[in-house]
């Protein structure tokens, strides 16, 4: 199967059973077909113009790298349009969530690979961020004027 060619890290949670397994299978079947979803388990499609950011070879969650080619293609896979060029264009067409592309997205929790983002959304498991991640938000955006 294609699984054997997959470079994604293996899931660290036990395989889901029963209803949870069914949800995961439905999510995979639909989202892989529509968005080429990579099942990161912490879906932010609405912040990325409905373009899966995990398709970016650098797994960038916050925007394009500096290597986007002048024709808008990917530096790593020159035959592919840059995921973030597509994401930007997609975000402009969204009636809702248009500005969510400006949100700072937290680091990926790699333990959620291959789990259902729908389940993680309901259980709020996808809200988990490193303990000090949000603390820096207490400070002003910059110290250009004063310390």
């Amino acid at each position: 199967m294609a699984r054997t060619l997959d470079r994604r890290p293996p899931p660290t949670a036990p395989p889901p059973r029963g209803f949870r397994r069914a949800i995961t299978l439905v999510e995979r079947a639909t989202k892989e077909a529509v968005w080429d979803c990579r099942m990161c388990g912490q879906c932010i499609l609405h912040s990325t113009g409905l373009v899966c950011p995990m398709r970016c070879p650098k797994n960038l969650r916050n925007g394009p790298c500096g290597g986007t080619l002048q024709d808008g293609h990917c530096e790593v896979v020159p035959d592919m349009k840059c995921v973030w060029v597509s994401a930007w264009e997609g975000s402009r067409t969204l009636p809702l969530w248009r500005d969510h592309i400006e949100h700072v997205e937290p680091p990926v929790d790699w333990r959620l690979q291959e789990t259902s983002s729908w389940e993680n959304l309901l259980t709020r498991r996808d809200q988990h961020v490193p303990a000090a991640w949000n603390l820096a938000g207490r400070h002003p955006a910059s110290t250009k004027r004063e310390r």
Binding site: G63, L69, E75, A136
Partner: protein, 317 residues
């Protein structure tokens, strides 16, 4: 706070003082001999305010930026230490940030990094555990919260000026200023741009950053390349992803015989320097080249940017 204007680094002090700063990129070395860095440091000493210690630039392994930054400090030059997300996960990046701070590094530059596919080890496993915006926030957490991002406390937090990079010349052009806004929100205090040949794009980018209010929060250092030959700009155009090299630039260098291309390259860089200095919000230059360091110094000299304020001994106040 009494430390209202105490700067984190010499670069920070100059930026706070409103000086037009000049930084340069250290040619990555492949030598186990520390004199390889010292020799390059000799070229730049007193001519620039800080020097970038690059982190496996173009995805080729080179002397570790930690070592290069340390050797620069020893040679009397303030380093800006790069951290790319390609080669290390969040544990290693935080460990190295703390380690750099113990060795006296006071400026860090957080970036994603060129992909391994453009380097000489394309079969390597790329890491990309976090992206550059995550790394900026983590640097900010370590400095301002005195903790690893996990929340575990540091005994003594690092104190550094946090920098980012941005490419105003690559698609999606409209999103690039917003992305800089995200970097500022994450923690960036200064930014070095990708190499600027296309001044129209640079002006547009700066105008948009100004509209978004970003220039109140970040110092922008414009990247300028000093080509040694027409071959060098063709290399940038064809081999380095993300650089916009307009046809006029290649034509200008091609229009002179090879023995005069180095001088023409200096003239080209001087023209770009003059024009970027006139763009509102540009706080300094970041000069780059490929094995042509003396030309960087010549550009600084002929642009009237010498003597550097940092080379004048400061009275302790």
């Amino acid at each position: 706070m009494s430390a209202a204007l105490s700067a984190r680094s010499e670069l920070h002090r100059l930026l706070l003082a409103g000086e037009f700063v000049v930084t340069a990129e250290l040619q990555a070395t492949d030598s186990a001999d520390p004199r390889s860095v010292a020799a390059l440091a000799d070229v730049f000493r007193g001519k620039v305010d800080a020097v970038n210690a690059t982190d496996n630039s173009s995805a080729h392994p080179h002397l570790s930026p930690m070592a290069a930054a340390h050797l620069l400090t020893d040679a009397g030059i303030e380093p800006i230490m790069q951290f790319v997300c390609r080669d290390r996960n969040r544990l290693a990046l935080q460990a190295d940030m703390l380690g750099a701070a113990t060795l006296g590094v006071r400026n860090v530059l957080c970036m994603t990094g060129d992909d391994v596919s453009v380097g000489d080890h394309p079969e390597a496993k790329p890491i990309y555990d976090i992206d550059s915006i995550h790394l900026l926030r983590i640097a900010r957490v370590m400095r301002d919260e005195g903790a690893y991002v996990s929340g575990r406390q540091l005994t003594q937090p690092p104190d550094f000026l946090i920098g980012a990079v941005e490419n105003p010349f690559a698609p999606p052009l409209e999103f690039r200023p917003m992305r800089l806004g995200k970097k500022i929100e994450a923690g960036a205090e200064f930014v070095q741009t990708q190499i600027c040949f296309n001044l129209a794009k640079m002006r547009l980018f700066m105008a948009r950053c100004s509209d978004l209010g970003l220039l109140e929060h970040v110092w922008v250092l414009a990247g300028v390349f000093v080509p040694r030959s027409a071959k060098a700009v063709r290399y940038l155009r064809d081999q380095v992803p993300g650089i916009d090299v307009p046809k006029e630039v290649v034509d200008r260098l091609d229009s002179v015989p090879p023995d005069r291309q180095r001088a023409e390259g200096i003239g080209l860089a001087l023209d770009i320097v003059e024009q970027v200095r006139a763009i509102p919000g540009v706080s300094g230059l970041h000069l780059m080249t490929i094995r042509n360091e003396e030309a960087i110094v010549e550009v600084i000299e002929r642009a009237g940017l010498l003597p550097r304020p940092s080379s004048v001994p400061q009275t302790v106040g």
